[in-house]
Symmetry: C2
Subunit: 210 residues, 2 copies
Amino acid sequence: MKFAKIPMATINRLSIYMRTLQDLLEEDVDVISSERLAKQCGVNPAQIRKDLAYFGEFGVRGVGYRVSDLVNQIKEILGLQRPWNLAMIGLGNLGSALIRHANFVKHGYIFTAAFDVDPQKVGKRLPNGLIINHVDELEELIKEREVHIGLITTPASEAQSIANQLVLAGINGILNFAPVQIQVPDCCHVENVDFTIKLDSIAYHLSSGL
Amino acid sequence: MKFAKIPMATINRLSIYMRTLQDLLEEDVDVISSERLAKQCGVNPAQIRKDLAYFGEFGVRGVGYRVSDLVNQIKEILGLQRPWNLAMIGLGNLGSALIRHANFVKHGYIFTAAFDVDPQKVGKRLPNGLIINHVDELEELIKEREVHIGLITTPASEAQSIANQLVLAGINGILNFAPVQIQVPDCCHVENVDFTIKLDSIAYHLSSGL
């Protein structure tokens, strides 16, 4: 599905709405008002209505949203009706912790490949059953295992070279945990995770007394 | 320092500008044009000028920004002229990986306390020299070690209870890695880190062909 000019902040909030709605489904909630949904998501109700309005009409006036319908509709918007295959590159402390994290599978993200250069790690089996391969095999295995998104958890010095290899292997989506800006062609979408940027934002709030 | 109504996106971009400027400082770059800085940060030059304009006049027309001056000015805006003390609550795979991550110290964030409930972990010494304490000691040690910000890396089921204890201990800033929305009083600022939300954004781009 293609929609013009949707703000990225809207896309990120749709993910948050979906997670809250999925929790509500587990609690057997069938219908929720935009007011209650907004409160649980930490936004205002007008924001939810505005975000959803980009994609059509949702909910029933005076009643609210049918929880399971809205989950499915947001999944369709975000492209999450199908699983996405991930490769982890870098099995240091952070990569090893992340690949064990149950949250990925819960949201339909499946690790199908894992790479490192350390001879002590290559050949070892991870708790999810995957065997760590050498980065030399990256291009071949990315294609063979139909990887869609690469996660880079290497040292900063290696991140650009790995990104280049991922792009050569046909990867168009990268989640970069290395503390460095990586450059990729326009066909590839990169998201960066830098925990310290979130800390800067907290520091700003604390020091400005907000 | 207090500024009215600065968009959070601006604050986050200031962090990114600062990191790029710090890298330039290490490469002995003295002056940079807004065009070149923008390119390195992956934004457009007008955005940098607009973001900085909230806080005053920076740079010299026709010349650019003095790198070290702008680093110091952004640090002052964000409240980063001083170190901030952190406590990690939850020393599972993710917490253990994060507390070893050099990126925190590099940006002036110092772990001064670490907590868990697992008797196998309590009393153990971490690579940074800290000893893991039991969560029962949280309030006392948060005050004693002048912790400013708490990082929650517990299971989702424990996160709210830990957040409550942090608030009771006087903490006003929380970085939450647990996959759950935590509720805190207005005096406390929470930032959430959910890697799968970034993946949703990549999935959206890949499936909509952006």
